[in-house]
Every structure is written in C-alpha cells, then in structure tokens.
Symmetry: C2
Subunit: 217 residues, 2 copies
C-alpha cells in the first residue's frame, strides 16, 4: 500500500455486525482504510460498544434532536468532517439522507443491502426473496445516490435460498457474505480503484472482483 489510509466514518443504528467486519479488516495496517468515527442515531446501539472496544471514537446524533432532516444531516456532515473522514460507510443505518447530504459526498458513501439489487429494494428483503420463491439471494455493496438502493453497484455476493429457510436463517447466511463483501468493496474505493461510468461502477485491475459466489459445491 502506498499513501495514507483513508479515514472512514461508519453510520449505524443497531447491532453493527457489518461495522465489526470493517473494524476487523482495518486492524491490518495494510488495509487501505481506517475507521475514524462511528456515529449512531440511537444512543443504545450495540455497535457503539463494538467501536469503543476497538478504540474508535463514537458519537450519538439522534434524529429526534433535530427539527428536520436537513439539520440532522448537517450535524452528521459536521461530525464526519470534524473527524477528517473521506469515506462514509452505512452499516444498518436506518435513516434516509437528503439529496443535499448525498451530493456533498459524491461517490464517497457506501451502503450494504441484503439483496441482489436491483431485486428487492427497501425493507424486509430477505423475507420477500423467500416469498418470491427465489432460489438465489445475496447482498450488494453500492454507492449511495439520492435514489434509494439504486446507486452504482460495487460488489455482490450470491447465496442459495434453501427449501426450509426462514427469514432469520436466510438473513444469517446473507450476513456472512456481507461481512466478506463490505471490507473488500471499501478497500477498492479507498485504493482509488473505482471508476463510475453512468450508473456502473468499474473496479480497475480486478476482473470479476465484484463477485463472491458462496458456498461452492
């Protein structure tokens, strides 16, 4: 690796298992990003404990303390910039940003979503995949744009849907892949290897780098 590690802010609302995957990856000094700040919009989020255990600064910014979305987003923005963040990772952050916020971080905000986009945007997507009878499900890391769950896709991973799957069992299988996929995608962005072409994200020097297929027979 050449150059400084990119400083990353991670936004959470809950348990923060994807945050943990990012924290674990950044323990390696060769990983091109370091987690500089974890922000939760909920005071009791367990992810805050994970951050503290990893020696990472945390702050809680509750949307309830702000009169509107613009002022809430402004507080998030100020906290990220105050910590010198260059990249933002959403990890189970349950608020939708204003276009104004997104446009202040062009191609700098990542999200992980538990479906193979463009299938199943929005909520409860694992249950909806089961109900749709899909036999393959997965997860997607994408760049956040003002449109929900539809920005350029950096990486996807596929998993089987098993005949007796419940929402919980499928979610757990997908989550395992999320934990592999998110650090990989963050590394590509931090290394400056991602080029955006329209609504496509192309990763330089990596053929099929955006694909994780699991498990293998």
């Amino acid at each position: 690796m050449t150059g400084a590690r990119k400083r990353v802010g991670v936004l959470i609302s809950g348990r923060g298992s994807n945050l943990q995957a990012l924290l674990d990856a950044s323990v390696d000094p060769q990983f091109p990003a370091e987690i500089a700040l974890v922000i939760s919009n909920r005071a009791g989020a367990y992810g805050l404990e994970r951050a503290r255990a990893a020696g990472v600064a945390t702050t809680t910014i509750s949307h309830k303390d702000y009169p509107d979305r613009d002022s809430f987003d402004g507080a998030i923005d100020a906290a990220l910039r105050g910590a010198g963040c260059e990249i933002v990772c959403l990890a189970g952050f349950m608020r939708i940003f204003t276009p104004g916020f997104v446009n202040r971080w062009p191609n700098r905000i990542l999200n992980i979503h538990p479906s193979l986009l463009p299938s199943f945007t929005g909520l409860h997507v694992q249950r909806r995949a089961i109900e749709a009878g899909a036999t393959i499900a997965g997860c997607t890391v994408h760049i956040v744009t003002p449109d929900l769950d539809s920005g350029p896709i950096l990486a996807q991973a596929a998993v089987p849907v098993l005949p007796d799957d419940t929402e919980d069992s499928l979610s757990a299988r997908i989550l395992e892949q999320e934990h592999r996929l998110y650090p990989a995608a963050l590394a590509w962005l931090a290394e400056g290897r991602v080029r955006i072409d329209g609504n496509r994200a192309l990763v330089n020097g990596a053929s099929a780098s955006g694909v994780l297929l699991s498990p293998c027979p």
Copy 2:
C-alpha cells in the same frame, strides 16, 4: 428410475440451444423425460434441424396462419396432446400464451429465462443487467403462469458479470449455465418431486437443488 419417462414437447422459435441441452440429457435412458415433439412457430428455425438429427418428431405451427391467439394456442395444444405430451418446455419460444392455454397445462409448462428473476423480466435482460451495473447475473427455470416471467421458480444459476462484458459475452456465459440448469429442472418436474406452495416451487428431497453457482473461485 421407476415408471415411464414423461413425454415432453419443446417449443422453439430459433436456434434451439436449450433444446439441444434437453435432447442431449434425454439420450440417457435414466433421464426421466423424453422429447416427444418439437414445435416451432418459425419454419426455418435451426432448432428443427437439431430435433430431426436426434430423431425427434417436429412440426411448424406459424402464428401467421391463425386469425388470433386463441386459435394459434389451440393448434399448439392439439399438437402437444396428439403427441401424448405431459410436460411443455419453452426454449426460446417468442410467443406469449393466452391464460386459457396456460391454465390447460397447470404447473406443466417450464420456461428458462436469462436473468435472476425477479430481476429483469421481459426482453434484452442481459444488456439490461450490464446497464444496471449488476456484478452477478444468471438464469432461472420457472413454471409458466399467465403472468409473464413470474411463475414459481424451480432453479436458478448465478454467473459473474465481468467489467468488459458485452451483451454477447454475458449472454454466452449465462447460456452455458442455462444448458446445465434446464435439464436438471425438467428432471425434477418429470420425477414428480416438485410441489407448488403459493408462488413457491419446492423440490422434495433436494436441499439447495435449485441452485447452481458458477464458476467457483
């Protein structure tokens, strides 16, 4: 295998590469289905030659010879029943059936579609997957219902979308998986192992049988 092989009618409009995969599979006397008849709605379809080379009866039923969809579908239905078909496989058949036809073959018509449904119904789906920036694409075998590309899913296979893929290169990669997937799904249906539960198809005695992930790293 116990019992007679199920007689299958295959409907094509063009080159019939998926027909070839079904013909090849049915050469094995242990395969639970045999291709009894190939119907094309186009006289010059190359798939007709494939069928003749395999010693399978063929007929051309052109939609242009019928005043409306009902009468065209009626002619197809009569040909299939005349040949004793119990299952119908669509293999690049470019006509949409009337609900009346579909309802006369309940859970007995299979189609193969070159996307990971429910993503990308309709036409030009490989190109649309590339344009959407998906890094994983694939194919789906599903039971045909009156709603286009939305019947119960029997099987899916996933493939990577590579950074320099064209519509043709991605189509070829998916097609390779189609040729694996379609005979497998037909076998499950012919063996009576498929149970329909709402809009889900469950394959008895086969965990994750509906999944082919390829290639493996």
